[in-house]
C-alpha cells in the first residue's frame, strides 16, 4: 500500500468514514430506515441524510479554506454538530 502514500490524518479520515458506513449498514439491517420529512425540503432516509451531511460538510470545509485563514478544526466542529442535527431532525 506504499504507492497510495498514506498519512495519519487521511488514514483516520477514511477509517472514520468506513466506521460510519459499517455502522449505518448494521443499523439498516437491524431497523430498516423510513423515508420521512424533517426540516429539509425533501423526504429523506438515513442514508440520504448521511450523504447530504457529508457532501455539505465537504463544501463547508472548502468555503472555510477559501474565505478564511482560521484554523480548520472550528469548521470541523461546526460540521459535526450540523451532521448530528441533520441526522436527527433533517
Amino acid at each position: 500500500m506504499e504507492w497510495m502514500a498514506w498519512t495519519l490524518p487521511t488514514t483516520l479520515f477514511f477509517a472514520g468514514i468506513g466506521i460510519i458506513l459499517l455502522g449505518m449498514t448494521a443499523w439498516q439491517f437491524a431497523t430498516p430506515t423510513l423515508s420521512r420529512q424533517g426540516f429539509l425540503p425533501i423526504a429523506t432516509t438515513r442514508g440520504d441524510r448521511l450523504f447530504i451531511g457529508l457532501l455539505s460538510s465537504g463544501w463547508l470545509h472548502l468555503l472555510w479554506l477559501g474565505f478564511t485563514d482560521q484554523v480548520l478544526w472550528i469548521i470541523s466542529v461546526v460540521c459535526v454538530v450540523w451532521m448530528l442535527l441533520l441526522m436527527k431532525w433533517g
Binding site: 497510495m4 477514511f14 430498516p32 423510513l34 465537504g58
Partner: protein, 289 residues
C-alpha cells in the same frame, strides 16, 4: 411513509461495489492522500495539510478556468436542449424514414472525441475546410487559431454537432412514449400545435429532458479532448477548460499535490450538481406517481 423491503437484495450489488472499489474508490483515496502532501513519488513526500486547498481556492487562473467552464456548459445546454427538442419534434413518427433519421442522428455519437476534434480542425480551416472556407466566402474574417471569439464559436459548434443527436434521440423516445389518447383529446379541444407542445409534449418530456440535461452538463463540464485537439486551449488560455488546466498541472508541471487538491474540488462540484439532478429526477418521479 413507505417501508423498505428485503434488504438482502443489496448483496446483489456486491460485484459492482468490488469493481467500483478498484476502478474508482481506491484511486480516489490515493488522490485524497496526495492532496495533503507535497509529493514527487511515494518515497519522496512531505505532509502539508490543507495548504494546496487554500492555494487552489484562491488561484486566479483556476477561477478564470472555472468561469469559462460554467459559461461553456451553460452555452452548450442553452443550444443543445432546445435544438434537440426541435429535431425530435420534426422527425417522422413512422415509416422507413424513422430508421434513416435515427441512423443519421446516431452517426456523430459514434465518432471518438479526438477524431471529432481533428475533423473540426480541418473543417474550420479557411484554405481546405468547408466551414472556414464558406465563412471566408461570406466575407467573415474567421480564424479559430488566433481569434478567441472564433475559437469559442468553433468549440461550441463542434459540441453541438457531436452531441445534439443524443438530446434529440432521448426526446424522440420520450415523444413516442406519449399515448395517442392525449393527442386525440387535444384534437377534440382544437388545441393549437403550441398548446399541444406546451401542455402535452413538454410535461411528458420532463424525465428524459432531465436525464439529457444531466448527461450533457456532466459531459461538457468534464470536456477535454475535443478543445484540446482543436485549439489546444488557445488562443492564449481562452478555451482552456478545467480538465485541461488540471492536466497541465498534473502532467505538464508534475505538481501532483496541487493537482490532487484541484481534482477533489472538481469532483465535489460534479458530485453536487449530479446529486441535485438526481434528487430533482427522483422527486419528480414520486410526484408523477
Amino acid at each position: 411513509m413507505q417501508r423498505t423491503h428485503n434488504n438482502r437484495a443489496w448483496w446483489l450489488v456486491l460485484p459492482v461495489v468490488i469493481v467500483v472499489a478498484f476502478s474508482a474508490i481506491i484511486p480516489m483515496m490515493t488522490v485524497v492522500n496526495y492532496s495533503v502532501q507535497d509529493i514527487f513519488d511515494p518515497s519522496t513526500r512531505f505532509f502539508v495539510g490543507t495548504e494546496w486547498y487554500r492555494e487552489i481556492l484562491r488561484d486566479e487562473r483556476l477561477h478564470d478556468s472555472l468561469i469559462r467552464q460554467f459559461i461553456y456548459s451553460f452555452a452548450v445546454l442553452a443550444i443543445e436542449i432546445p435544438l434537440g427538442i426541435a429535431v425530435a419534434l420534426s422527425m417522422p413518427r413512422k415509416g422507413a424514414m424513422v430508421s434513416l433519421c435515427m441512423i443519421l442522428l446516431a452517426l456523430p455519437l459514434l465518432i471518438p472525441w479526438n477524431v471529432v476534434g481533428t475533423i473540426w480542425q480541418i473543417i474550420g480551416r479557411e484554405d481546405i475546410g468547408l466551414y472556414g472556407w464558406a465563412l471566408g466566402q461570406l466575407g467573415i474574417d474567421y480564424n479559430y487559431a488566433s481569434n478567441p471569439a472564433d475559437a469559442w464559436v468553433t468549440v461550441l459548434v463542434m459540441d453541438v454537432w457531436h452531441w445534439t443527436s443524443l438530446v434529440a434521440l432521448l426526446c424522440y423516445s420520450g415523444l413516442r412514449a406519449i399515448p395517442d389518447v392525449y393527442y386525440q383529446a387535444a384534437r377534440i379541444d382544437r388545441a393549437s400545435p403550441w398548446a399541444v407542445f406546451r401542455y402535452i409534449q413538454l410535461p411528458k418530456l420532463k424525465s428524459v429532458l432531465l436525464i439529457g440535461i444531466m448527461l450533457r452538463f456532466m459531459d461538457s463540464f468534464m470536456i477535454y479532448t475535443e478543445p484540446f485537439v482543436l485549439t489546444g486551449g488557445g488562443p492564449g488560455t481562452t478555451t482552456t477548460f478545467l480538465s485541461q488546466t488540471l492536466t497541465q498541472m498534473a502532467i505538464g508541471q508534475f505538481d501532483l499535490g496541487r493537482a490532487a487538491a484541484f481534482s477533489l474540488i472538481y469532483f465535489l462540484i460534479i458530485l453536487l450538481v449530479s446529486w441535485l439532478f438526481y434528487t430533482a429526477m427522483t422527486h419528480q418521479d414520486s410526484d408523477d406517481a
